[in-house]
């Protein structure tokens, strides 16, 4: 691990330990491909476990995370980069890791990230999708759903949940109040009766 830190320092990159088995290094987009290649060829991180994408709408960029493993598989290194949201594009790494093909295909579909040189940027999970990519955060799923799928109408004897909850709460409150009152009354009664009891006891 120390080796890796020193190697990364030469590239003026910092390796941060996040958890026991989790390390993270942030890198600029331009450096990404060469860094991934050196992870693969020099540092021995030959397994690409996953490519994750996060949409930071507020900052206006996508955060892409490549999770890499050594053959020992005893820790994960996340290589993180951020790219512009507009016309997002990344170099395709499917030639180095065949499994990246499907991960990139998914990212293309879900976020609209383009991968020049990728052979099969076809449909992954969706079919005939013509809206903005669904996992972008500016895609409003509620709006879309309401447009496509109306809610089921109520039954005639259906009750409004809010009103019922309110009623229930009030009833509860009333019951509580009543119980309190009763308790108070009882207490009063008891206090009234107590003397007699005491009296009786005394007797």
């Amino acid at each position: 691990m120390i080796e890796l830190i020193s190697k990364l320092e030469k590239l003026s990159l910092e390796l941060v330990q996040k958890q026991d088995y989790l390390y993270k290094v942030e890198v600029k987009k331009e450096q990404l491909e060469s860094l991934l290649l050196s992870f693969l060829n020099e540092f021995g991180y030959i397994t690409l476990d996953s490519i994750n994408c996060r949409d930071d709408l507020e900052e206006g960029n996508f955060v892409i995370t490549y999770c890499l493993l050594t053959p020992k598989r005893d820790h994960v290194v996340m290589v993180q980069t951020s790219i512009e949201r507009e016309n997002a594009s990344l170099p395709s790494i499917h030639t180095f890791w065949p499994q990246a093909e499907i991960m990139e295909r998914e990212m293309h579909e879900m976020f609209g990230v383009d991968f020049p040189g990728h052979p099969t940027l076809i449909d992954f999970a969706l079919e005939y999708w013509d809206n903005i990519p669904p996992l972008r955060r500016d895609f409003d799923t509620l709006q879309y759903v309401n447009d496509m799928n109306p809610f089921r109408g109520q039954r005639d004897d259906a009750l409004d949940a809010k009103v019922e909850m309110k009623k229930k709460r009030e009833a509860k409150k009333a019951a509580k109040l009543k119980a309190e009152q009763e308790a108070a009354a009882k207490a009063e009664l008891e206090t009234q009766n107590n003397p007699s009891q005491e009296v009786q006891n005394e007797e």
Partner: protein, 371 residues
């Protein structure tokens, strides 16, 4: 003059097909019954979990993450809970850890029984599914007792588990394990040693050990090739570093090797469960002190957690943004690479009869591919 490849016929293996695992399809180009090209199609189960999770708080999301993979929900719950714990810095008690480990191992056993049914059913051995699905049901009964749900448990809550163990649960679990040990001998005779299963499975779907490491194949695919790796040993979580168990491996890398690995893993799971029953602390909080109204605030940070599911390592990437909502949660199940990179490669030049068997032995679960 047309050549062999141009004269193939095209058929779909799924989604409406008895030989498919779940709701997915494989598009096959066949010459005779020899597959010349295979292409996986998913998306029949796509619900957009990652979008749904973004619109929910941690507690709301907790109820739906288990639905990401239907046959084995618990690794998902575990991953989710651990990711939230990592982000918020929650520490859970030892008893909760033991219970979670126990639930994970119980789930592993249940999934293995279901897999055994599927694997035997894929070669037309109708007896085994009838038995093994029934045997799995006894485990589901215990789950029901423990969590209230047969299939979806919603049990491993961030910060611990949702409920304490019922009285006498561990002894009932112990009884069931006795029963399972007896049953596994029966399955060994009828299924794993079945001459026809051997004939069909040996030498089919051979995975190259060199590809395994680079292409991130996990689980029994990896261990069937003789690579002794397991998240439970390599990056131990919960109580696994305190438990004594082996990682079973086989060297052939074919369907039969993977089946044997699974059988041995079942025995290992029973071994682990027995240790847990012995070591389970009687005292301890099952749920750590968590924020009021369970309003978890996730910091603007990200994390990556891995759990060994019954089919291989399952990873979650989770990021918060300082609010109650989850900024991003990405699921990377073992099936994604298996169903695409591996399956499309394995099926080429194999026969139509091998498709169902190969898919079953890879442990492909479509809902976790597309979420």
């Amino acid at each position: 003059m047309k050549n062999d490849l141009e004269n193939t016929i095209k058929i779909f293996h799924g989604p409406q097909h008895p030989g498919i695992t779940g709701n997915m399809s494989v598009e096959l180009d066949l010459l005779g019954e020899t597959i010349k090209r295979a292409q996986t199609h998913v998306g029949y189960l796509h619900r957009g979990f990652e979008k749904l999770v973004e619109r929910r708080t941690v507690v709301q999301a907790f109820t739906i993450v288990c639905r990401i993979c239907v046959p084995e929900p618990d690794p998902n719950e575990e991953n989710f809970a651990r990711a939230v714990e990592n982000l918020t810095g929650l520490e859970i008690s030892e008893k909760a850890k033991y219970i979670r480990t126990m639930v994970l191992e119980m789930q592993r056993l249940a999934t293995m029984f279901l897999w055994m049914g599927g694997q035997a059913g894929s070669i037309g051995l109708g007896l085994i599914p009838q038995w093994s699905v029934c045997d799995r049901d006894y485990m589901l009964d215990l789950f029901e007792e423990l969590t209230g749900g047969r299939v979806y448990h919603m049990y491993a809550f961030p910060g611990g588990v949702r409920r304490d163990l019922p009285e006498g649960f561990l002894s009932r679990l112990s009884d069931l394990l006795d029963y399972y040990e007896k049953r596994i001998i029966v399955y060994n005779n009828t299924f794993f040693d079945n001459i026809i299963f051997k004939k069909r499975a040996i030498g089919v779907g051979i995975v190259n050990a060199d590809d395994v490491i680079k292409n991130a194949y996990v689980g029994q695919v990896m261990r069937g090739c003789g690579i002794k790796k397991d998240v439970r040993k390599d990056m131990p979580y919960l109580m696994y570093d305190k438990l004594d168990f082996d990682i079973p491996v086989q060297s052939d890398g074919d369907v039969y090797a993977r089946a044997l690995v699974r059988r041995d893993e079942m025995l290992q799971s029973i071994k682990i469960l027995r240790q847990i029953i012995k070591q389970m602390p009687s005292e301890g909080d099952i749920l750590q002190k968590i924020p009021k109204h369970r309003k978890f605030k996730l910091p603007a940070d990200d994390t990556y957690v891995q759990t060994e599911s019954a089919r291989g390592a399952m990873s979650y990437y989770m990021a918060g943004d300082g609010s109650e909502k989850i900024r991003r949660m990405q699921v990377r199940g073992p099936s994604l690479v298996h169903a695409y990179t591996l399956l499309e490669k394995l099926l080429v030049d194999s026969q139509l009869s091998d498709v169902a068997m190969t898919m079953n032995s890879l442990g492909i679960c479509p809902p976790e591919i597309e979420r």
